[in-house]
Amino acid sequence: MTQTTAIIDIAADEWVAACTASAARGCDVVDWLTAVDTAESLFVLVHLVDPGSSRSEMLRCELNSERPEIASITSWFPGADWHERETHEMFGIDFLGRSQTNALLIRAGDGLSPLRKTAPLDARVRTPWPGQESATGRRRQKLPPGVRAEWTRDE
């Protein structure tokens, strides 16, 4: 599928209605569902395809990054089940109205959301960054890219 699909922005309370409306237009198979954390905003995206043609629709919804939650679409799209579990585990997004969201990889209860920009990169904090010193021995840039100052304070 090489064609580009336009992103349709959806309000959180219209998420299920928008997805079922896409299905009514023929795009009734979940290709994938995931989230994107841009540090400023948190989005959940779903790519719905029409298996009979190459047509597809991409729906996006901005979430409250402090308390991210959105209605589950698994009742209408069973294929979204695995994707919602993964997105819940990696981004800490609660999918409301589904039976259970068993973790796939991470032990339950530790509250970590590894793909959120706020998740500390422990290895990057603990490993000495080879780029810290300049040729003159002066520290030009204190922290490596992607490492936040607040992660290093506890060290």
Binding site: P130, A135, Q141, P144, P145
Partner: protein, 112 residues
């Protein structure tokens, strides 16, 4: 070297072109490059003040960490890094995958 773009097999270093600017070290996503250098003053005739230049002491790529993305080659402002086709550098131990400036500069001329 053939006319085709070299495969991503090994990274060659031209130490004479390296100014120890650390751009590759900072841009490397795998943190596999380390550079050691010192500053020397060079007096030139007619110049009012001696010029300070960075002198490269050591340049190391750890192929145990490198993911062959080529960002170091892309970002080097002085074309001191380049791909070469050779791939015959396996090692039985972790330390053997660390190549220093001598190893890396050898690829520049002998790397096919």
């Amino acid at each position: 070297m053939s006319d085709s773009t070299p495969q991503r097999n090994v990274i060659a270093l031209l130490p004479e072109a390296c100014t120890s600017c650390m751009v590759c070290v900072r841009e490397c996503p795998s943190w596999c490059i380390s550079v050691e250098s010192h500053v020397e003053e060079v007096s030139e005739e007619g110049a009012r003040r001696p010029r300070t230049v960075n002198v490269l002491d050591e340049f190391t790529i750890d192929y145990g960490l490198c993911m062959y993305c080529g960002i170091c080659i892309e970002t080097c402002p002085f074309d001191a890094l380049a791909w070469r086709d050779s791939f015959d550098y396996p090692s039985g131990d972790r330390q053997g995958l660390r190549q220093d400036a001598v190893d890396l500069s050898r690829w520049w001329t002998t790397g096919s």
